[in-house]
């Protein structure tokens, strides 16, 4: 049986649902020799501010049980150099490009979005209102419903591209943020970004990261991320790009069944840069085995028919 892996997110056509997660795939070009970028669903490039940024000093990552903390600090070349130097290469490789945009102010988000709106080869804007590693911007907006609405609305005004806010999991009720994003004009939401976390070197009694706190990613967080995708799917009618600890096709399927139309893979790419082909093969097999023609036949099909019966205690 032939199956169709392609999905559409807010008008953006993806060859398959597997997108390289922002900050975990450089600007994509680093991987062009290793992986045929046109075989990925999409490439979400490293978060970009208006100007170049230095990021945090090392130590920038720490491994934790089935996860990792990062406090890179959004080191980057700024949106203009990205458009001039990286975007043409990504286009040449046939990549579907999702640009992750950042700002310290609402004006900066809008300015970055405007510059990208003029550029060729930008598939969508992923609005990073959720990076836990910067003092101004990011989480400040992502942890407030009004901040979320303001940033999304400002970006919406200046771009024709799909606008996809990326939500932080560090909130009580993530679905309310998805709803706020939708109300402000978002075409889809990405979730989750990393969980604010820390690790301490007990011998020196100092944080292991130079930045004290960082973001937890990797398989450790997957069960929480899947729950959040499920919650958003139940509460808000908006396409979801799910992520958080996907290491295998089976993990990706959990997100899709919970309600994600596409998924991103971040940390797993560090462990296995050749994961993409395995994900595509695995998904094809699964759909065939289950007699499903398309990925959308699977999205949000979680069966939660109540299985509870009444018990008494022991």
């Amino acid at each position: 049986m032939s199956v169709d892996l392609s999905v559409d997110i807010a008008g953006l056509h993806l060859r398959n649902p597997f997108i390289a997660a922002s900050g975990c795939f450089g600007y994509g070009v680093e991987y062009a020799d290793l992986v045929d970028l046109s075989t990925l669903g999409g490439v979400a490039v490293k978060g970009l501010f208006l100007d170049a940024r230095e990021g945090h000093p090392p130590t920038r990552i720490v491994e934790t049980p089935s996860g990792m903390l990062n406090a890179i600090g959004l080191q980057g070349i700024g949106v203009r150099r990205f458009v001039a130097e990286k975007l043409p290469l990504l286009r040449a490789h046939g990549a579907v490009v999702i640009v992750n945009i950042c700002g310290s102010t609402i004006d900066e988000y809008a300015e970055v979005a405007r510059i990208l709106d003029d550029a060729d080869g930008v598939g969508a804007l992923e609005v990073n209102i959720s990076c836990p590693n910067i003092k101004k911007g990011g989480m400040m907006f992502g942890c407030s419903l009004q901040g979320t609405r303001d940033v999304v609305a400002a970006v919406r005004r200046v771009t024709r591209r799909p606008v996809i806010p990326k939500l932080t999991p560090n909130v009580t009720d993530v679905a309310s943020f998805a709803a706020a994003a939708r109300d402000a004009g978002a075409d889809a939401v990405s979730l989750v970004n990393t969980f604010l976390a820390m690790a301490i070197d007990v011998e020196t009694r100092r944080p292991k990261l130079s930045n004290v706190v960082g973001g937890l990613s990797g398989p450790a967080i997957r069960p929480i991320a899947v729950r959040m995708v499920h919650e958003c799917r139940q509460a808000v009618d908006l396409p979801i790009i799910g992520m958080g600890g996907i290491m295998t096709t089976g993990d990706a399927l959990e997100f899709i069944i919970a309600g994600a139309t596409a998924v991103q893979v971040g940390t797993a790419n560090f462990v296995d840069p050749f994961i993409w082909n395995k994900l595509v093969t695995g998904l094809t097999d699964y759909l065939q085995r289950h007699g499903l023609a398309t990925v959308s036949d699977l999205v949000g099909t979680l069966d939660i028919t109540d299985r509870d019966t009444v018990w008494t205690s022991s």
């Binding site: 900050g23 975990c24 795939f25 450089g26 680093e30 991987y31 020799d33 290793l34 490293k46 230095e54 990021g55 000093p57 090392p58 130590t59 920038r60 990552i61 491994e63 049980p65 089935s66 996860g67 990792m68 990062n70 890179i72 080191q75 130079s210 990797g218 398989p219 450790a220 290491m247 940390t267 790419n269 560090f270 462990v271 296995d272 840069p273 050749f274």
Partner: protein
């Protein structure tokens, strides 16, 4: 082009309580290796430990002319290195490589001084072999805690490498840090003979070697050990402060721009 292989452990030789040499059947990776390059390995199953770890390629192994695999010189310091120490023949580990910018292999009349501290010996076996092919006169300055922490001396000698040893406890060679005999050698060396210094070991040692080389006007390449998340330029975890022109230091990824750097460009005081 880096490859990822499921490499079979051919042998695991324990050199001491902490050091071992692990031979991996990975010819497709090994045949591409240049001196100073590294591989990212992952033993075990499950997601803990999660990330791969970087290791210099110690030896490229050959059966006659055919490349059969590579070896790693491993020192136990944490979870993955403990697992590498405990592997037995037949076990499998993931091995991705070769990665990174190699040493520049010099040519006569320039001489090569390799300076190794502890497990920093690792990149020098392949470098020595490459230097020998070019008939470069090569010396290894090699320091360890004590005589029982100095390995593969005969192998280096067989490749025509002169050895100068140092141990903290004086049980072999000069007593003290490897920089002690190195400093003397710098003073004794003929100014007219060009020398290229290659260093690998603890950061403080590499910094000291860089300063000695600068003082004596010698070229110096260092192989730095920064924590690495991916080894491929994807994560920006492995940055090193480097100053190549005027202006402030810049953080460059040591998996792409290194691990080998011109020692003179490293901003040591800003390095973790």
């Amino acid at each position: 082009m880096p490859l990822d292989v499921d490499a079979v452990v051919v042998s695991n030789t324990h050199l001491s309580n902490d050091y071992n040499v692990l031979v991996l059947a990975a010819p497709a990776v090994a045949s591409q290796v240049q001196p100073g390059q590294f591989v990212m390995v992952k033993p075990g199953v499950g997601d803990d430990p999660l990330l791969r770890r970087p290791f210099s390629v110690f030896e490229v192994l050959r059966d006659d002319a055919r490349v059969t695999g590579l070896s790693l010189l491993n020192k136990r310091v944490g979870v993955t290195t403990r697992m590498l120490f405990a592997l037995t023949p037949g076990d499998r580990i993931r091995c991705l490589g070769p990665l990174g910018r190699p040493f520049s292999v010099t040519e006569p009349p320039e001489r090569a001084w390799m300076v190794a501290g502890g497990v920093g010996l690792a990149p020098f076996a392949t470098l020595a072999a490459a230097l020998r092919e070019r008939n470069v006169k090569t010396t290894l300055f090699y320091g360890g805690r004590s005589a029982t922490d100095l390995f593969h001396l005969d192998e280096f000698r067989q490749r025509g490498v002169s050895l100068t040893l140092a141990t903290d406890d004086g049980s072999r060679g000069v007593q003290g840090n490897v920089t002690v005999p190195l400093a003397r050698a710098f003073c004794d060396a003929d100014r007219a003979t060009p020398i290229r210094v290659y260093a690998c070991g603890p950061t403080a040692m590499m910094r000291a070697v860089t300063e000695l080389a600068a003082t004596h006007g010698r070229a110096i390449e260092v192989s730095l050990e920064q924590v690495m998340g991916c080894g491929l330029g994807g994560c920006y975890s492995c940055v090193i402060p480097v100053q190549r022109d005027s202006g402030p230091a810049r953080l460059v990824r040591s998996c792409l721009d290194g691990p080998v750097f011109d020692g003179g460009t490293v901003v040591w005081e800003q390095l973790g």
